[in-house]
């Protein structure tokens, strides 16, 4: 495995969190109700960008996430629009009772932008990885969940959270993400998957940092004559059922790819739709295979667990070979 983090060479001018910080500043400039809350991670999460122009609107709660999340709900109650940022592992677990009861249950206008998600802080180990948050957050009633594919999509996600009342959980990575989109004007719509490539042999449904890898995999597969449809499922909740059902009907094979435990996240959300839809479909879930990850660079870890471009290609080749059995031809002896 390489000892280099190649995204550093591919990085454009800004890390994903910097896109968030700049977007937040824009929103703050036009709306005095926008405030930022952090727990001693104002710099790391880039919420601290507010400090320069709006020093009275950034609140640092120290290393005390429970207090921060409940206070955010109190701020929302009196009419502010609090954006709360800390690492995903803390945002989703350290103060979950507060987010559940004070923000989600009361349907407060609290926006959580969680950074360092998935294995993006690879070297830090499992205390700072977060491969459970999608699963946790999508079970919170009232809460919408977005996993942007890059910095430009983060801009759109943050704006969508601002424009729609109620609690949001947006998960972004540490550091730089290779750009999927050249700019932010590509028709982002909350709850609507974006088709990145056209194909009818199989569908690769990805979110976050896995979208660009799914696109790379589709290119590799094209050389084999396999045409893969890639969907950027940026919104995990509400999930785009229509796009999934269309994929089942038109491609009959689905691979989900996420920087998250294969239990509970995007793959599970897609599987729920597929099973309820009731049409035959071969499905594989790629992601962290229900384990605490080894330490390493983000890209290396994705390769290790088989959800980088090569891993996706390998799984695609496997399921292309599986004969899809129509319901009427099912034979009980097969089981």
């Amino acid at each position: 495995m390489a000892n280099l983090n190649y995204t550093m060479f591919d990085a454009e001018k800004m890390s994903t969190a910097e896109y968030y910080g700049k977007t937040l500043c824009e929103l703050a400039a036009k709306d005095s109700r926008v405030v930022g809350l952090s727990a001693d991670l104002a710099k790391s999460t880039k919420i601290g960008a507010l400090e320069k122009d709006f020093p009275e609107r950034i609140f640092n709660f120290g290393i005390a996430e429970q207090n921060m999340f409940a206070a955010a709900a109190g701020m929302a109650e009196v009419g502010l629009i609090p954006f709360v940022s800390t690492f995903a592992v803390f945002a989703s677990m350290r103060a979950l009772d507060q987010f559940h009861t004070d923000a989600c249950y009361q349907n407060m206008n609290v926006k959580v932008i969680a950074t360092h998600a998935g294995l993006s802080f690879g070297q830090a180990g499992s205390t700072h990885h977060c491969t459970e948050d999608i699963g946790i957050m999508r079970t919170m009633a009232n809460c919408r969940v977005i996993v942007p594919a890059d910095g430009r999509e983060t801009v759109n996600a943050v704006k969508a959270a601002y424009e729609n009342d109620g609690p949001f959980y947006i998960r972004i990575n540490r550091g730089y993400d290779m750009p999927v989109y050249p700019n932010s004007d590509y028709g982002f719509e909350l709850g609507k998957a974006i088709q990145m490539t056209d194909g009818t042999d199989l569908t690769i449904i990805a979110c976050g940092s896995c979208v660009i890898r799914a696109i790379a995999a589709a290119k590799q597969l094209e050389a084999d004559g396999i045409r893969a449809r890639v969907l950027n499922m940026h919104t995990i909740k509400p999930i785009d059922k229509e796009a999934i059902e269309k994929a089942v009907v038109e491609t009959k094979r689905i691979i989900t790819v996420e920087d998250h435990n294969i239990i509970g996240g995007l793959g599970s959300a897609v599987a729920e739709t597929v099973t309820e839809f009731g049409k035959t479909c071969v499905m594989r879930k790629l992601g962290v295979p229900d384990t605490f990850s080894i330490i390493g660079l983000h890209e290396d870890l994705m390769a290790e667990y088989g959800y980088d471009a090569n891993g996706i290609v390998k799984t695609a080749r496997e399921i292309i070979g599986i004969q899809v059995i129509d319901e009427e031809n099912w034979d009980d002896d097969d089981f």
Binding site: V35, E56, R57, F59, F61, G62, A64, Q66, N67, M68, F69, A70, A71, A72, A73, G74, M75, A76, E77, V78, G79, L80, P82, D97, Q98, T101, D102, Y105, Q106, N107
Partner: protein, 289 residues
């Protein structure tokens, strides 16, 4: 602000009524957190009938004072206050805990008019009040965020996160009141998880502490007046109370944290409440000379 005699008598009478209505509500609900509700009634009475700047006809008024019942399990004592204030029909109390009722053990602000926060998970309320207070300050509003905590609840680390932050942000617009009834579900606070020296803890976190008899309306008025005026340091009021205050059969007994009340028991409890309040009134008159 102080308390004149006329006001005092009216509030005494209100506290008596609310205690009795709480007993009835526990009966209608098929059970409830009666002990901690009765210990808090005098505090709730003063807040809702003397101090809080609220408008019953406009419950969502932006400039209103906020109240966060951090010890959210005493809905059976708080819903009667909101009903009596006129936020909703008292008849609704008879549906308490019933399937489809707007009123359940832990009150939900999206269902209960006049409620500022849905609480029940302990250790959240002081932080919520802090958020309201910081928000109010930023928005240039003068409202106060009152918060009533249970003492057992102060085992939660999050209470101390909030305390640290209230002092740090000099959020003197948060009025912190602790119902120190010295009981929790499994026993007396000092046996389950010792809190003492309790006042010292609050002081160490940057508060000015006022310990007061939580069933003496004059004394409570004095400390509330003080806390509301305080500008330099936030004030924590430790209200020394009795769990189940007013009902001799259950008073100061941690086993009555939660109880059901039969019709006969309710009648008996209400008689005891009258006896308690008669006695308390006489003692007060005596001490006033």
């Amino acid at each position: 602000m102080g308390l004149n005699k006329e006001e005092f008598l009216a509030l005494e009478n209100k506290a008596r009524e609310l205690r009795k209505l709480t007993v009835d509500t526990v009966m209608w609900a098929g059970g409830g957190h009666i002990g901690g509700a009765l210990s808090a009634i005098d505090i709730l009475t003063l807040l809702y009938y003397k101090y809080m700047n609220i408008d019953v006809s406009n419950p969502k008024w932006e400039d209103r004072d906020r109240f966060v019942l951090s010890k959210g399990h005493i809905g059976v004592g708080f819903a009667p206050v909101l009903a009596d204030k006129g936020f909703f029909d008292k008849e609704l109390l008879k549906t308490y805990n019933h399937t489809y009722s707007k009123l359940g053990m832990h009150l939900d602000k999206n269902k209960v008019v006049g409620l500022d926060a849905s609480t029940g998970s302990l250790g959240h309320g002081l932080s919520i009040a802090l958020g309201m207070a910081l928000g109010g300050r930023l928005l240039g509003k003068n409202f106060k965020a009152y918060c009533l905590l249970g003492d057992g609840e102060c085992n939660e680390g999050s209470v101390w996160e909030a305390a640290m932050a209230i002092a740090h942000f000099k959020a003197t617009n948060v009025i912190t009141i602790i119902d120190r009834n010295k009981c929790m579900i499994d026993g007396r606070t000092e046996d389950v998880m010792g809190l003492e020296p309790f006042a010292d803890k609050w002081e160490a976190f940057g508060f000015e502490v006022r310990t007061v008899d939580g069933h003496d309306l004059y004394a409570l008025t004095e400390v509330l007046d003080y806390a509301i005026k305080a500008q330099n340091k936030p004030v924590a009021i430790i209200a020394d109370t009795l769990k189940g205050c007013g009902v001799a059969d259950i008073q100061d007994d941690y086993r009555y944290h939660y109880a059901s009340v039969s019709e006969d028991a309710a009648a008996k409890y209400k008689k005891q409440i009258d006896e308690y309040h008669d006695k308390r009134l006489k003692l007060q008159e005596k001490s006033n000379g």
